[in-house]
């Protein structure tokens, strides 16, 4: 497609001087270093998100009692208004932790890991490119993300604490909460979000141009690994969906700081007093703008995960992915449809029959391509010679978990059944099944799979399997009971875990069994946290002491990222890459090996000098 450009950049890259420490690790323009920066930062935020929830879970299981160990620490960090001396967190802090758990997990952990880390590290390697099209833009993208993260973290320590109006920040609550403190946590949240949005937009532009412009010679669209397709569609979602939220965020910032009324209607009475604002705005406008981003965002969370799982499954079944083409068409269809389903988050905002019918129809339609992709992955297992290693365990775990998450979206997608399930724990369980044992398992699969390429050493298989088994069990123990709680009508975001709505005398409410599940869920959350210790130790220990890879292609994979030296140097490839076949040519009849790399010439030639592929 661009042989001359490729040759030029390649020549430059190979003559590139080794940069110093700051240039190499902190202000790097190398997509691999940026990917790793995203990865490490994202993993830390992922853990922080879990920690916030662990504290909230104590409060839900034991309302009004002090959080052991962490409570006194929080008291010293956040002050008496947030945490009592005995370590009991206040309702405001509970809400703040809830809002920040959502924000951190979505915008600071999963998207940066799935898109920023894997997208950056793997995509240019998989398409045979020396780097991203705009390496400096890529660096700025990470810096914006880092700034956004710092702002979000700092907001915990300002007067009033962090944003506390949910990760959805619905107006007018987001404007009214802490309205006598300016700036407040919500201000920090909005400015932090603007940084994160800019980061994603810069990343998206870069991914799109890179995948369009920098594919190696011969890498036609239908030879593109599914992972790259997933990143490509994800980049478009970010590019098109985030600007409306950025605009909305600026409007809400003006509502909060300058007393405009974009999202505030006339006649608001707060604490018995008429609010002195011009009024005339619409709280529903915020919801539309927010969900116009946030529904495509859901697919931003899941599509890269599907891409990773596809790579790992192809590699470990030792056969081509079944229905590759229909998967590509499906992911494009998902990308398009994800822009016209957003109002299914708003069924109960007074929606009439026509609009509700439109949105629930599109919601049902989008389930079809999702089923196609999942079915193709299931069918791909048929006829394989399945190797069970840690990446494969996580990828296999992803399939039924994503299945549960996807299926439980159906009763929420029909607005009539949503009448009962709206805002209950059923919703929480549904989207966590997609993102936690779904996407996060896919991310772990990717970490175990590409770690040897990035570091030259393998992660421990034994501890990897321990990590998988424990995570799998506890993920299900955390989220499965929530379906039951939700079906029983337990609402989310309750400081006392729903105890207010317990059965009382003649009033039939939540049964002790349903409320008691809070305790078992909380235990499972903490156990899930502990189950990550093997991973954390494995991750750092293996950097120096892991088993060294004996080949540049330790998994015997077909895609281009395994055709580089290990770890890939600045500029990536030390030879000219020309792709001659599709991405998943495993177990090709008549070949001596069960994998045929994408760039291996059709006529077997004598292996040229310096070819890193060893059979």
């Amino acid at each position: 497609m661009q042989p001359t450009l490729h040759a030029d950049t390649h020549a430059q890259a190979s003559h590139h001087e080794e940069p110093g420490f700051w240039q190499k690790y902190i202000f790097s323009t190398d997509h691999k270093v940026i990917g790793i920066q995203y990865g490490i930062t994202g993993l830390m935020f992922l853990f922080l998100g879990l920690c916030l929830m662990s504290v909230m879970r104590w409060q839900m299981a034991n309302p009004g009692t002090g959080v052991p160990l962490v409570g006194p620490l929080l008291y010293h960090l956040l002050g008496e208004s947030a945490v009592s001396k005995t370590g009991v967190i206040s309702p405001d802090l509970y809400n703040a932790f809830g809002a920040m758990h959502g924000t951190i997990m979505v915008f600071l952990a999963i998207v940066p890991l799935a898109f920023g880390a894997f997208g950056n590290f793997v995509t240019p390697l998989q398409i045979g490119a020396p780097d991203m099209t705009f390496p400096r833009v890529n660096m700025v993208s990470y810096q914006f993300y880092f700034m956004g993260g710092i702002l979000m973290l700092a907001s915990f320590f300002i007067p009033g604490g962090a944003a506390k109006s949910g990760w959805t920040s619905y107006s007018p609550l987001a404007t009214i909460a802490d309205m006598n403190l300016r700036p407040n946590g919500q201000t920090f949240w909005i400015i932090g979000m603007v940084c994160l949005i800019n980061s994603s937009l810069l990343g998206a532009v870069n991914f799109i141009t890179t995948i369009i412009q920098l594919r190696a010679k011969g890498l036609s669209w239908m030879r593109l690994p599914f992972f790259c397709w997933a990143q490509f569609v994800t980049a478009f979602l970010l590019l098109l969906a985030f600007p409306p939220l950025e605009a909305a965020a600026v409007l809400q910032l003006m509502d909060n700081l300058l007393r405009t009324s974009f999202f505030l209607p006339t006649g608001l009475v707060v604490s018995g007093k008429l609010l002195h604002i011009s009024g005339g705005g619409s709280p529903l406008l915020w919801q539309h703008l927010f969900w116009f981003l946030a529904h495509p965002e859901v697919y931003v969370l899941i599509l890269p995960g599907m891409g990773i799982v596809t790579e790992v499954i192809a590699n470990n079944t030792r056969k081509p992915i079944w229905g590759y083409r229909s998967m590509v068409y499906s992911i494009l269809a998902i990308g398009f449809l994800s822009f016209i389903v957003w109002a299914h988050h708003m069924y109960l905002t007074g929606m009439g029959v026509r609009i509700a019918t439109f949105f629930q129809t599109t919601t049902m339609v989008i389930s079809i391509p999702s089923v196609v992709i999942l079915t193709a992955l299931f069918i791909s297992l048929w006829g394989g010679s399945i190797r069970i290693n840690t990446p494969m365990l996580f990828a296999l775990g992803f399939l039924p978990m994503f299945g549960i998450g996807g299926l439980t979206g159906l009763p929420l997608g029909f607005n009539a059944s949503d009448i009962h399930l709206h805002d209950t724990y059923y919703v929480i369980a549904h989207f966590h099944y997609i993102v936690a044992p779904g996407t996060i398992f896919a991310l772990f699969a990717g970490i175990y799979y590409w770690y040897p390429k990035a570091t030259g050493r393998m992660l421990s298989e034994y501890w990897g399997k321990v990590h998988f088994a424990l995570s799998f069990v506890f993920m299900n123990l955390v989220f499965m009971p929530m379906f039951i709680q939700g079906m029983a009508g337990m609402s989310r975001r309750m400081y006392d875990g729903g105890a207010t709505y317990a059965s009382n005398g003649d009033v039939v409410g939540l049964s002790p069994y349903i409320i008691g599940l809070n305790t078992s869920v909380s235990h499972a959350v903490w156990a899930l946290g502990l189950a990550q210790i093997p991973f954390i130790i494995n991750f750092f220990w293996s950097l120096n002491w892991g088993k060294k890879v004996t080949s540049d292609n330790p998994w015997e994979a077909t895609t281009l990222e395994w055709q580089t030296p290990t770890p890939p140097p600045h500029g990536n490839f030390d030879k000219e890459i020309e792709v001659v076949r599709g991405p998943y040519e495993y177990s090709v009849p008549g070949k001596s090996r069960d994998f045929t790399p994408q760039n291996e010439p059709d006529q077997p030639e004598p292996i040229p000098h310096g070819n890193p592929v060893r059979s």
């Binding site: 029959v353 190797r387 059944s417």
Partner: protein, 272 residues
Amino acid sequence: MFFGSFLLLLPATWYVYHGITPTNMPPDASGQGAGVDQLIFYVHILMGLLFVGWIGYFFYVVMRFHKSNNPKADYVGVKSHASTYLEGIVAAFEAVLLIGFAIPVWSGAVDKFPSEKDSTVIKVIAQQFTWNGWYPGPHGKFCTNDEKFITGDNPFGLDKKDPSFKENFFVNKDLVVPVDKPVIAFISSMDVIHCFACKPMRVTQDAIPGMVFPAHFTPKKLGIYWINCAQLCGMGHYTMRGSIKVVTQPEYDKWVAEKSKAAAGGGGGGFE
């Protein structure tokens, strides 16, 4: 019969993990709850079928095609088009649920309102962190209200010159309605977005400031049912519990008369 019980067994499998079924829902105490419950039940049948199918296939395949059982992978894999038909069936099932259940139930919930004449009409005004039930009194006329009348002791801005003013009365958190007669509740909010949800009545409607949305339900069973706020509304969100007490018509009439009288005696617009 046999086929029917077979279908019933499958969604039960879905919940085998904790040994309970989708009927774990709160008791249905309203006229239109059955439609909601049926849809939830049928959609879980579809989910159960798909999940059990997937998971059964999954375990079979992972064992049968494990490298130790199948050392050489097959380049082609599955040749049949069964999955295409399967996807077609899923789409058809979804279409039936959508057209046969979801759309009619929704239309019943938001479009087909009973006439106000035959219903108990109330207004519910949400506020941080309580529910204000506004009853018109024996003659069924709501007093006019406007922003300009809002003061500390007149939070809803009632026009005190309106003749209905003396009959109207307010209750705090605990609503009372008569049984077997449709209730139309006009739901709004004074400050932030709340959500009026009464699970046993299968009614949920966001309360959005600056807007008024009607919701309706027909209580079928005497008793008291919680109202919960189903939208994060601030610090006291979790305490925002109200209740609906369903009583017989004579009891209701008596209650309305007493309340209305007390309101008039107490200077009108009595605020409990």
